[in-house]
């Protein structure tokens, strides 16, 4: 079975005039979260779309989804966790409790603030996770990537052709992802903010698949302006 985990655990931000988390802000006619969830909702390969959300915003997220998609069993909003990986683990716990976990259980994890993800990217994530066990969505780095360990002097300039920018989805066989996470020490868990990095540190293969430059993450007010202009919407940040 294949599950989508749309990560909506982010808390407040100063994106607009309020502390509303950015995934709930309006982009065009709907909140960003709804745009993103819809991409997974219409893909019939998913058994369920799980939306882990900060506990203060769970009811709000449920309301938005019901308002826009109607009553549906395909989407469920659950409590997120303290960190990104805790949030993913909460979603996996939900899957285990309700469906069980086996070798063929696949999770496609995606940032709720990347509403421009395409059908092709999602389908390829499912296929690659099934084939390789883990995969990450990337685009070639447009800028030169410069490493500076102290923020004052360049430590190294890696070869640009070898550099990519990581996007989401990141997709995994859920059972193995859980095993790897549970094998980490608390210290490692604190450092590893990215699920794919856990695999890399354990020496496991993570397959790379092509994202899209426009699969942007809406993080800063600048991104919101870009996203609004991309869909030709006037600026209206309130959800």
């Amino acid at each position: 079975m294949v599950f989508a985990i749309v990560l909506a655990g982010g808390k407040g931000s100063r994106m607009g005039n309020t502390d509303m988390p950015k995934q709930f802000m309006k982009l065009g006619s709907k909140p960003i979260l709804v745009h993103t969830v819809e991409k997974f909702f219409v893909n019939s390969r998913f058994e369920k779309v799980i939306v882990p959300t900060h506990k203060s915003w769970v009811e709000h997220a449920r309301n938005l989804i019901e308002k826009n998609l109607g009553e549906t069993d395909k989407v469920v909003v659950i409590d997120g966790g303290e960190t990104r990986n805790d949030t993913i683990m909460n979603a996996i716990a939900y899957i285990e409790e309700n469906y069980g976990l086996d070798e063929d259980t696949i999770v496609v994890t995606h940032d709720s603030v990347r509403p421009f993800v395409t059908h092709r990217i999602i389908d390829e994530n499912i296929d690659c996770a099934a084939k390789y066990g883990a995969c990450d969505t990337m685009v070639s780095a447009a800028d030169t990537i410069v490493e500076s360990c102290d923020g004052e002097a360049i430590t190294s300039i890696p070869i640009r052709d070898h550099m990519y920018q990581g996007q989401t989805p990141q997709s995994f066989k859920a059972k193995r992802l859980k095993e790897i996470f549970e094998s980490l020490s608390d210290e490692e868990k604190n450092i590893l903010t990215d699920a794919c990095k856990m695999y890399v540190l354990k020496g496991e293969h993570v397959h790379v698949l092509k994202g899209e430059v426009f699969n942007i993450k809406i993080t800063y007010p600048f991104d919101m302006k870009v996203a609004q202009s991309l869909i030709g919407a006037t600026e209206d940040l309130e959800g």
Binding site: K30, F41, T118, K210
Partner: protein, 341 residues
């Protein structure tokens, strides 16, 4: 949901635009599966339309011939995974006399409205025709073109007199080939005569009674009715040759598009009492009839498969350019895009 739409913004320049899809609008959401390139798309792509037309119609996503796969249908008319053909003509009113494709209020994809080069396409459930299982998907991708021939022939059937012993088809391109094929299956007793300018293309019409180069038509050849499938600058000599060779009271079906006015021998049109009528595009009934023909005559599909030229997998905008470039240099057959963008 935010949809990625790959629009022609100016000749040979394609950019992605983003448009919202409303999942509650009661429309079927489909993913293009295979898309076929049409000469009309190519004229926009190459900038061969007038500056006024380009200014009025761009930016827009090209292509209006495709087979798509149902992704989501809130109306439960179709099942997820069904292969369907969306109808590019979308009427906004009904008329008891005028067909949907002639209503001036209808809009047409890839002619001022976005065509099928998109992440998702949407249509009302009654603007979609389901394909039979096992259908040849390359052929299915240009069902729209087949429906255009079906439409012209259906009109011919209502307009032309009943003597249909010999029908002439002028034009040895895709439209001529498909029109002749559909006539061959709908009127098996009728002798078909093909008139063209390229021997190699004429050799494809093996199912016809005879195929002639327009400069070497044997003396004494005549036809009861004729279809003009030439278009462009070749329209005028073709129509006048038809007027010369057609029998009195015959019907001449005009199907070729010309950017310029065409001078024809009206004296002989009058003397012979000819009927000339035009056909353009098609409607949902013509699509349904085309699909019926696929099911009834599997050999028709085999013949249509001969038209499949380059099949280009498109994963990027440069791949779209490659498909249009290959198509531009193709004199016969259809370029099919495997949509993987």
């Amino acid at each position: 949901m935010i949809n990625a739409v790959y629009q022609l913004v100016s000749p040979r320049m394609i950019e992605v635009a983003y448009k919202e899809i409303d999942l509650t609008a009661g429309e079927v959401i489909m993913r293009p599966y295979k898309v076929s390139v049409c000469k009309a798309d190519q004229r926009y792509y190459q900038g061969m339309r007038s500056p006024e037309a380009l200014k009025a119609k761009l930016p827009m996503a090209l292509t209006h011939e495709c087979v798509a796969q149902v992704v989501y249908d809130p109306t439960d008319t179709y099942s997820v995974g069904d292969f369907v053909v969306p109808v590019p003509n979308t009427p906004t009113e009904t008329d008891s006399v005028v067909a949907e494709n002639y209503l001036r209020s209808s809009y047409f994809r890839s002619s001022g409205y976005d065509g099928f080069l998109q992440d998702f396409i949407t249509a009302a459930p009654d603007r979609v025709v389901k394909l039979p299982k096992g259908m040849n998907m390359n052929v299915a991708s240009f069902t729209e073109l087949v429906s255009v021939s079906v439409h012209a022939i259906s009109r011919f059937d209502k307009i032309a007199h009943s003597r249909r012993n010999k029908i002439g088809i002028w034009g040895d391109g895709n439209v001529g080939y498909i029109t002749a094929l559909v006539l061959h299956y709908l009127y098996p007793e009728t002798e078909l005569y093909i008139f063209g300018t390229v021997e190699e293309k004429l050799s494809y019409f093996s199912f016809a009674k005879a195929a002639y180069h327009v400069d070497h038509v044997p003396v004494g050849i005549s036809v009861d009715h004729a279809f003009e499938c030439v278009g462009g600058g070749g329209c005028q000599p073709a129509i006048n040759q038809i007027i010369d060779l057609i029998n009195p009271e015959g019907t001449l079906s005009l199907m070729g598009v010309s950017e310029n006015n065409v001078g024809i021998n009206t004296r002989m049109v009058l003397e012979k009492g000819l009927r000339l009528f035009g056909s353009s595009r098609s409607g949902i009934e013509d699509f349904a009839k085309a699909v019926e023909l696929y099911e009834k005559y599997p050999k028709l599909v085999s013949y249509l498969d001969n038209l499949v030229g380059d099949v280009v997998r498109v994963e990027s905008i440069p791949d779209i350019h490659r498909a249009f470039d290959l198509d531009y240099h193709r004199s016969f057959g259809k370029t099919v895009i495997d949509w993987a963008k």
